[in-house]
């Protein structure tokens, strides 16, 4: 009798172990997937920046500092490794872009340029996709971290090397309740 209880307990523990291990694997994969989504959107932003700079240059060629600042931040961000460094560098890119758009305010002709308007929609859409990708990634990181920290799955996580991940933190990116009606198209 005692033997069977022991065997039963062992089987249950094993079943739990398999389940918990698979859960950790799927959580980790979701985090990786979330990170690659962020990466895709950030790269799309890198691709847009040179076009944007070229377009703005045509109207405001003498605002060199601003262009250089954005270009520099962009190339620095593209070269960083790791979540925290990348987040810091991307904040610089966002700040540079904001500066650029502030400059644009002084050039009414530029603001009416269709090429520029298309780039602007593309860029603001990319910004909001970055925000959504970040939201998804951070949710997944939180779930993974909770699993690796809470008992008893932390034992399994330690044994098989599931580590906590870093959140992707960005200073208040343009997002949320903007009451601007962008018209019908």
């Amino acid at each position: 009798m005692g033997l069977w209880i022991g065997v039963g307990a062992l089987v249950l523990a094993l079943a739990w172990g398999v389940w918990a291990f698979n859960r950790l694997v799927s959580l980790r994969n979701r985090v990786d997937n979330g990170w690659s989504q962020i990466d895709v959107q950030l790269r799309r932003r890198y691709d847009l920046i040179p076009n944007l700079v070229e377009t703005v240059k045509g109207y405001a060629g003498h605002e060199r500092e601003v262009f250089e600042h954005v270009a520099e931040a962009r190339s620095r961000a593209a070269g960083t490794q790791g979540v925290a460094d990348r987040a810091g560098a991307e904040n610089q890119v966002t700040a540079g872009l904001r500066q650029l758009f502030a400059v644009v305010e002084n050039y009414p002709d530029l603001k009416a340029n269709t090429n520029f308007l298309a780039l602007q929609e593309e860029l603001s859409a990319t910004e909001s996709k970055i925000a959504y990708a970040r939201q998804f990634y951070n949710d997944q990181v939180m779930r993974l971290n909770t699993s690796t920290q809470s008992f008893p799955s932390n034992l399994l996580a330690k044994a098989f090397g599931f580590r906590e991940r870093e959140f992707f933190e960005i200073e208040d990116i343009a997002r949320g309740p903007v009451d601007v009606d962008l018209g019908g198209s």
């Binding site: 979701r30 997937n33 979330g34 989504q37 959107q41 298309a118 929609e121 593309e122 859409a125 909001s128 996709k129 925000a131 959504y132 990708a133 939201q135 998804f136 997944q140 949320g176 309740p177 903007v178 009451d179 601007v180 009606d181 962008l182 019908g184 198209s185």
Partner: protein
């Protein structure tokens, strides 16, 4: 969320089995009239099985076609495409295909069988009336239906009920024309045949209220509240959808392509005639909670 997915898959299975058995019964009744009951069952079962499988595989296309939705490219509708892609990223599912329905009433629906095979359709009225935040709220609501597989049940129900309605009309009409010819011609065999067609037509018409109950059973009103809440979680901004619902509440909801088979799929239930209050039949098919209550719940979040 995972229990809901499982529950929705179970419901879909039961619905399809139920539809096949029901068709078998009709086949038996028709068949036994001529003394070939088993043959009737066989034919009806084969036809119903083929229809069930195709409603699972192609139901989304049928629904989209019945609303005259048109797929739009990201060049045509960059704003809509960007929003759909953004919300899909937030939900962690592949980007659904994007359709526009030529209707002026602001409304939207999602269809498909799983996140890998899904579509979101919005009306032209919705596009012109909503700002970006409101549109995001609406798309997030639909994205939640996709995530929870509500679209699977909804689409299968739409095609099954649609087929029943179509068959009822077919039988009624063939009785009408058959009876007409039968009276004029000398062929006396027309009598029993037209009678049985008439009986089947009446039987199918009688299940129309039943169909309403089936729809209600499958897509409970709670699903809408849940999709509202889940959508708000995706955008992290409940006032977006609340604002959209307010605008929808303030505009006429009549749609040319509205019908009882697809009414439950829409964001807000369309009515058929401009300015019409809900009649008894409409109430029977009413699958959505009152819009004011949905707005109130969103505003309390």
């Amino acid at each position: 969320m995972y229990e809901q997915i499982a529950a929705n898959k179970r419901k879909t299975f039961l619905l399809l089995i139920g539809a096949v058995l029901f068709a078998g019964l009709i086949g038996f009744v028709i068949g036994s009239f001529w003394g070939y009951g088993p043959v009737g069952i066989g034919i009806a079962l084969v036809v119903a099985t083929v229809m069930s499988i195709s409603s699972y595989l192609y139901g989304d296309r049928m629904v989209l076609a019945s609303t005259r939705a048109r797929e739009v490219s990201s060049q045509e509708e960059p704003r809509l495409h960007n929003i759909v892609e953004g919300i899909a990223i937030a939900a962690g599912i592949p980007k659904p295909r994007v359709y526009v329905v030529p209707e002026q009433a602001p409304n939207a629906f999602a269809t498909g069988r799983d996140p890998e095979h899904s579509s979101i359709a919005v009306t032209e009225g919705l596009l012109s009336l909503m700002n970006r935040v409101e549109l995001e709220g609406v798309i997030a609501h639909e994205m939640s239906h996709i995530q929870d597989r509500d679209i699977l049940v909804g689409t299968v129900v739409a095609t099954v009920v649609g087929a029943a309605v179509l068959m009822a009309e077919f039988f009624m009409r063939s009785w009408w024309w058959g009876g007409y010819r039968g009276r004029r011609g000398s062929d006396s065999n027309g009598g029993p045949v037209t009678l049985i067609l008439f009986a089947v037509g009446i039987a199918l018409l009688a299940i129309a209220p039943l169909a309403g109950q089936i729809i209600k059973f499958s897509v409970s009103r709670n699903r809408e509240y849940l999709a509202d809440a889940q959508g708000a979680m995706l955008t992290r901004y409940p006032p977006g959808l609340a604002g959209a619902l307010k605008k929808i509440a303030g505009t006429p909801t009549a749609m040319r392509s509205a019908n009882n088979a697809t009414g439950h799929l829409w964001l807000n239930q369309p009515s058929r005639i401009e300015g019409e209050r809900q009649g008894t039949l409409e109430k029977l098919f009413s699958t959505h909670p009152p819009i004011q209550e949905r707005i109130r719940r969103l505003e309390e979040m």
